[in-house]
Structures are given as structure tokens and as C-alpha cells.
């Protein structure tokens, strides 16, 4: 469904953030992208909806080459690609409902969005999603009064209101406590499964990635150094991705927090 062919990104004249990357993601697959800070994870997923322009290479969604599209066609493709951010990226001064409805900006005209006159079907869908993510009673609350976990749920509802085929998720849990982090990951992967979406999730928490993703891709200095199952991610492979470290110990402390959370 999504295909990347030799995608590279160069910032300025020297910094090569992505070396030629080729990757294929079928519909319905949840792929976790891991790698050290600065490895190019955010750059890679931002290249897919061209918030960052790739320097070379091609990106295909279904039969359409995203990398070639003129602005108007690009906006049309973006409607089919939902995005979820670490910093939630809500418009702070708007209400929860307005934030969710912004997921459908691409399919209403300027006046409809200015006057907030969204089609009834869209509003129904927004209510359903808010209920699904567990915030039915917060419809008219302003986004800046919400907690981190609640904000991320609004972010998820916004992305899903787009009826996307593909979800791009950039560190959705990095600012959340371990329990909320799991709930958010579960929510994203469940919704993706219900709707048969392909998902790419950037994530630093390796055990969490192993728990929820079907496939793990490890990125190091802009190159893919691991592409396989969650189980195949041995301490050896982790060293390959992140560099030398005592991985067995890191895993022990993780499982301790797991116990603490579940208790």
C-alpha cells in the first residue's frame, strides 16, 4: 500500500538525515520505527506526507506517486494520511470538538470551516470517535484545559476523523506516564485494526513497540539496520541500532515497571 523507493533527505548542504531508504508497508500492518535520537525517524515519517520535502527518491501510496504531486493534489492525498504527534499538536484555544473537526478541513470549503458549519455526518462521526477514545463529555472543553493523555486522545480522534488509509504517529507516548502510554498505544493499534489501516509509529520505548507492533524497523544514522519481527529484536540487534549498552538490565527494569503498573 505504501512504498518508499530510495528516499533520501539532506538538510542544508551537509547533513544527510536519510540515506537511500526503501520500505514497503502493506495495508493493516502496524510498523514501529525505532532508533536513537537524531536517527531520522521524524524526518522519515514527515517525508511521507511531505511536511518535509524528500531530496530524492519516490514515495507511492496505492498507485499514486506522492513525491510528484502539485500542491492541490498533495492536499487531497494528505486527507488520506492521518498524523499523531508527541506534543499532541492541538490548537490550544479551540474546543475539543473544533480540534477533532479540523481533521475534515480538507473536505469542506473555506466558509464552512470559518463558520464551523461541518456536514452533519462529519459531526456524528466526530461524536462517535470522541466516545470511542473515551472523552464523550469533554466536547466543549478548551484543549488547553486537558491533561496530556486526554489531549493525545483528541489528537487520535482528529487523525481518525480523516478516514485515513495510513496513520503516521510520531512518538505518541513520550510525554505520558507508563500506564497512559500503554492505553494510548492500545487505542491506536485497536482502531487501526478495526479499520484496516497501515500504521507507522516512531517510538523510543522498545518493550512497548514489541508489545504492540507486528513489525519493527530499526533506523541508525538515516539507514535501516533492522527490519523484522518484535521477537527477533535481540540484545545484539539493539546494540546494532542504539550502540553498546547493557540491554539485559534495561529490560529487567522495564519489566519491573510493568509489574508496578499492573498492580
Amino acid at each position: 500500500m505504501l512504498r518508499l523507493e530510495n528516499v533520501t533527505k539532506q538538510y542544508g548542504s551537509r547533513l544527510q538525515a536519510l540515506h537511500p531508504i526503501s520500505l514497503e508497508v502493506p495495508a493493516g500492518q502496524v510498523l514501529a520505527l525505532i532508533g536513537a535520537s537524531g536517527a531520522g525517524k521524524s524526518t522519515l515519517i514527515r517525508c511521507i506526507n511531505r511536511l518535509v520535502e524528500p531530496t530524492t527518491g519516490q514515495i507511492w501510496l496505492h498507485q499514486q506517486e506522492i513525491t510528484r504531486l502539485p500542491p492541490k493534489a498533495l492536499r487531497r492525498v494528505r486527507r488520506k494520511i492521518g498524523m499523531i504527534f508527541q506534543e499532541y499538536a492541538l490548537i490550544e484555544r479551540l474546543t475539543v470538538m473544533e480540534n477533532v473537526l479540523s481533521g475534515q478541513l480538507g473536505s469542506v470549503n473555506f466558509w464552512q470551516s470559518w463558520l464551523r458549519r461541518f456536514p452533519p455526518a462529519t459531526i456524528t462521526a466526530a461524536f462517535e470517535l470522541l466516545e470511542r477514545v473515551g472523552l464523550p463529555e469533554l466536547v466543549d472543553r478548551r484543549a488547553d484545559t486537558l491533561s496530556g493523555g486526554q489531549r493525545q486522545r483528541v489528537g487520535i480522534a482528529r487523525a481518525l476523523l480523516q478516514n485515513p488509509n495510513l496513520l503516521l504517529v510520531d512518538e505518541p507516548t513520550a510525554s505520558l506516564d507508563p500506564k497512559t502510554a500503554r492505553q494510548i498505544m492500545r487505542l491506536i493499534t485497536e482502531l487501526a485494526e478495526e479499520r484496516g489501516l497501515a500504521v507507522i509509529i516512531n517510538i523510543h520505548d522498545v518493550p512497548l513497540a514489541q508489545m504492540f507492533a507486528q513489525r519493527i524497523v530499526g533506523l541508525k544514522a538515516g539507514q535501516i539496520v533492522y527490519d523484522g519481527t518484535p521477537q527477533g529484536l535481540t540484545p545484539n540487534e539493539l546494540t546494532q541500532i542504539y550502540g553498546e549498552e547493557d540491554w539485559s538490565h534495561a529490560r529487567d527494569s522495564e519489566s519491573e515497571t510493568k509489574v508496578a503498573v499492573d498492580a
Binding site: R78, I81, M83, E87, I91, S102, L105, G106, S107, Q162
Partner: protein, 272 residues
């Protein structure tokens, strides 16, 4: 533990912050030269004590006038002047705001391509180059005496102020929510109205009310060079040595500025 550190470590040197100019010769030399220049500057100021005494007695007259402001004898002129000033202020603030918003958006580097940015920054720089009185003189020459020249002046000056600060405000908002709205496939206009304006709205309202306040005060000044408003009335009163009338006008201006301050505060509180 404590004994250990003091025994094994040599005492630390005393510390003071590094001076601005490292070379002491240069540092003291610059200070000396600066002092000498100040002395020389003061000695060239000729103070004419006779003139000062006359001034003091005249300012006493003004002060006495202030104690007995005369609203009545020239009430029609005052009323016309005040109404004209208020009209100039309202119209100029509205026109200035209407023009500032598009220019301010165009001057925000995060929203527009470089040529648009340069064009809008250029317009802002032009509007900010000259002081209001100079612009007023220019417009009086262009359209003649009267409030039209004043409105044009204040609108023009408002653009320089509002558009610049609005652009700076827009450039400072968080970029990630904008990315999120872009990522939904929204158009540029939708991006601006849905994601940018809500974020800058409180600040924009604050700037507009502040500019209203400035325009009110400036409307009294541009009248002095013939651009209409209460300034013309004030100028006439002073030149006739009608200090009691001038005092009445000044009191009215103080009252108006104070009233807008209160009003602006109330609006700002509501819009948080």
C-alpha cells in the same frame, strides 16, 4: 569528608565577573573620555535664566488655568474637536487593522514564500520610517487641511505598528499545531483562520486596543500641523493664551485616554 576535600585540594582563587572590556587601559580610557565628553556637552548648553524665570511664571499661569478649567466659553469648538478626534481615531484604527492583518500575515516568514515576505516587510518598514507628524505634514500637503489628512496619517502609522507586531506574534506561535493542520490537507486560508488566528487572537485584540489608545493621543498631535481633530483646537487655545480653555481640552484628553484604558482592560479580560 569535609576535612578530606580541604586537605587534598588547593584553595580556590577569588572570583569576580569578567569586565565588559578586558584591556584595563582601554576600559579606564573609555570611561575618562566619556566623562570629559559629558562635561563638555553640559558646558555648551546655554541656560538663559531670564527666559527660565519668564517660563516659570507662565507655567504658573498654565497651572492656575488648570485649577479653573474653562469648558463653557468655547464649548462648541471643544465639542467639535473632540468628536472629530474620536471619529478620526475610530476610522483610522478600523482601516489600519483591516490593512494590517493581511500585511502582517504576509510578513510572517513561517506562512509565506520569500518574495511575499520581503514585499510585506518592505511595506511595514516604510510605514514605520517616519514619525506621525512628518506623515501628517505630507498628507496635509496631499489632501489639504482637515480630518481626512489625520485619518490617513493615523491609518498609515497603525499599519506599521500593528502589522509588525502581528507578524512577530505569528512567527512565535508553536509550529507543530500548524504542521498538524497542514497534514490534514487543509488549504492555506483554512490554516490561517483555523490554526493561526485563534492562537494570536488575544494578543491581536490587545494590540488593537493599545493602538486605539495611541491613535487617540496622536490625533491630538497631528491636529497641530493642520490634520484636524482636537489638536487644532488646543493649538488655537495656546496661541491665544487661553490657558483655562487649553486646560479644559487637556483634561478631556486625559479623561478619554483613561476611559479607553479601562475599556481596553475589560475587553482583554473577556477574551483570554
Amino acid at each position: 569528608m569535609k576535612a578530606n576535600t580541604s586537605a587534598s585540594h588547593p584553595p580556590y582563587p577569588r572570583w569576580s565577573p569578567p569586565p565588559l572590556i578586558a584591556n584595563p587601559l582601554l576600559r579606564w580610557g573609555a570611561l575618562l573620555l566619556g566623562g570629559l565628553y559629558l562635561l563638555a556637552a553640559f558646558s555648551t548648553l546655554e541656560i538663559n535664566w531670564e527666559r527660565v524665570t519668564a517660563g516659570i511664571s507662565r507655567s504658573l499661569q498654565v497651572f492656575v488655568g488648570f485649577l479653573q478649567p474653562d469648558f463653557a466659553s468655547r464649548w462648541w469648538e471643544i465639542q467639535n474637536g473632540v468628536l472629530e478626534s474620536l471619529t478620526m481615531t475610530v476610522v483610522a484604527t478600523v482601516v489600519g487593522t483591516a490593512l494590517s492583518i493581511p500585511i502582517g500575515l504576509g510578513a510572517a516568514r513561517t506562512l509565506v514564500p520569500l518574495p511575499v515576505y520581503l514585499l510585506c516587510r518592505g511595506m511595514i518598514a516604510l510605514a514605520r520610517t517616519f514619525q506621525e507628524v512628518i506623515i501628517a505634514i505630507f498628507f496635509v500637503v496631499l489632501v489639504g487641511f482637515g480630518p481626512l489628512a489625520g485619518v490617513l496619517t493615523l491609518s498609515f502609522a497603525s499599519i506599521g505598528f500593528l502589522a509588525k507586531l502581528l507578524a512577530e506574534e505569528i512567527e512565535a506561535i508553536q509550529p507543530v499545531p500548524l504542521e498538524a493542520i497542514r497534514a490534514t490537507g487543509a488549504s492555506w486560508l483554512q490554516l490561517v483562520t483555523y490554526a493561526v488566528l485563534p492562537q494570536v487572537l488575544p494578543r491581536l485584540v490587545g494590540l488593537i486596543t493599545y493602538r486605539f489608545d495611541i491613535n487617540l493621543r496622536e490625533s491630538a498631535i497631528v491636529g497641530v500641523v493642520g490634520a484636524g481633530g482636537i489638536g487644532a483646537t488646543l493649538q488655537t487655545a495656546f496661541s491665544r493664551y487661553d490657558f483655562d480653555v487649553a486646560a479644559a481640552i487637556l483634561l478631556i484628553i486625559i479623561g478619554l485616554v483613561w476611559a479607553t484604558e479601562v475599556g481596553a482592560g475589560a475587553i482583554r479580560r473577556r477574551i483570554q
